[in-house]
Symmetry: C2
Subunit: 275 residues, 2 copies
């Protein structure tokens, strides 16, 4: 670890190891239970795109499929721009680690699209919910067993982690203010990671803690560099809810707005749960 860097920048420090190949290390600061926080893996994949010398434009969409846990230590990110058009570029991505016999094993697959955006007619069609600001709200506890939670300042308004696991849940909706901890100017990678900070909807809806993990995550970036700069180190309002829980998998829809009410990203994931 490099203590001179923000933990997010330290976690996303990629070293070029050949054309479209980047070497990285898992970060203890973003450790989840049996692997890295899914959001940091999404951010690392996007970071490879951001660093790639052939990149055209800025992130428009990112889909990450969590095929297997990433083990502690080194990993390789592969990023290939498989098709470049006039204003969009299509990426195929993966995370690799050595397997038992040293052979490369895919832990994560992904695709991304980057685009050169032009100013057009624009319209927010899902306004930010009317909520109180983050200032008066309590931050969720630090020092939880899951390390990555300390890397975020999370202030729930609606749908906080149940205080009693009594099976009495009645909604899957969470609304919370969030930002990196320590505060850090927002960029595309940080935004990708923030789209994954919500605890499993099944815990909330059932008020029951069952094993759960994201299988596939998609982020659509509505923000360009201007909106990121406007957001600065401020809080984002995140809203998450499930639509369907069925036979081991539920989906989650997410919206993220900055404090000025601009939607920066919308996101979706499908999540495994047990029982």
């Amino acid at each position: 670890m490099n203590p001179a860097l923000h933990p997010l920048d330290d976690a996303l420090a990629l070293t070029e190891a050949g054309p479209g190949r980047y070497r990285a290390r898992t970060s203890p600061a973003y450790w989840n239970m049996v692997g890295p926080f899914g959001g940091i893996t999404a951010a690392a994949l996007l970071q490879a795109v951001m660093q790639h010398p052939q990149r055209l434009g800025d992130p428009l969409s990112l889909t990450v499929n969590y095929a297997g846990a990433i083990a502690e230590g080194e990993f390789t990110v592969q990023a290939e721009p498989v098709r470049t058009n006039r204003s969009t570029q299509h990426w195929t991505l993966s995370v690799l680690q050595p397997g038992a016999a040293g052979e490369p094993v895919v832990t994560t697959t992904a695709t991304a699209v980057t685009a050169v955006r032009r100013e057009t007619w624009s319209l927010p069609d899902t306004p930010m919910p009317e909520v109180t600001g983050p200032e008066g709200l309590e931050r969720i506890l630090r020092g939880m067993p899951v390390k990555w939670l300390d890397r975020y300042d999370l202030r729930p308004m609606t749908g906080a982690l149940p205080s009693r696991w009594d099976g009495g849940g009645d909604s899957s909706l969470s609304q919370l203010w969030m930002r990196d901890e320590p505060p850090r100017p927002l960029d595309f990678c940080a935004l990708a990671a923030l789209s994954d900070v919500f605890f499993p909807r099944v815990w909330l809806r059932r008020a029951r803690q069952v094993p759960a993990g994201t299988v596939s995550l998609t982020v659509y970036f509505h923000a360009g560099r201007e909106q990121l700069a406007d957001s600065g180190c401020g809080y984002l309002l995140g809203q998450a809810r499930a639509q369907e829980f069925r036979n081991g998998f539920f989906d989650q829809t997410v919206q993220l707005w900055n404090q000025g009410g601009t939607m920066l990203a919308s996101s979706h994931q499908i999540v495994y749960y047990k029982e």
Copy 2:
């Protein structure tokens, strides 16, 4: 074309041309303006997964990135199961066509996850809207210049194509009953295609017809084989809306229920628009 087959089965007739390589032809019956209907391309990619001898389980998620138009004629679908776990399998997919010098050009990239599903606690968290049935509703006109529309029986309740392009739109919400034409028992590929039948939200919200096209589409399959069988040849209720229109791209969220009110799929896409 094989007239003995349903047009969808004809469009999805893939011939194995090597391990994980499938040869197919574009179908005039599903032609859009400058290439195939996006939904049929998604279905063809999924069909390669369905036919692959190493497939584990049924479709759980599918993400398709439309990198370039597919030209009329032959194309190749590549499907590789890059990681197989105990109950989930991760796929990397692409569509290729010969370029100007005969070299393979990627027109479409995709990833998919298949899974063996087990019965668990389940809960619908977004009930089907209360709407009238399809019987009394008018079917949209046949014989439109866009051929693929004839392959669907589409019956809008809310958010039909504007009758006047006067810039006076006020909502991006559409609700319509839909099924294959002629009727055909629902399967995963048909469901994937149906998630993409909605015309561009920007046309509805602005009551203005501007060039638009899907860049990336994700489908989450909540239905297992039992729910597909229950759906049979019946109509599905489809609901689509946009969340944000910004500088050339908008997102669309979609839910599909069968007539019994069971959510079969949720879907999302990010769509390019001009002006």
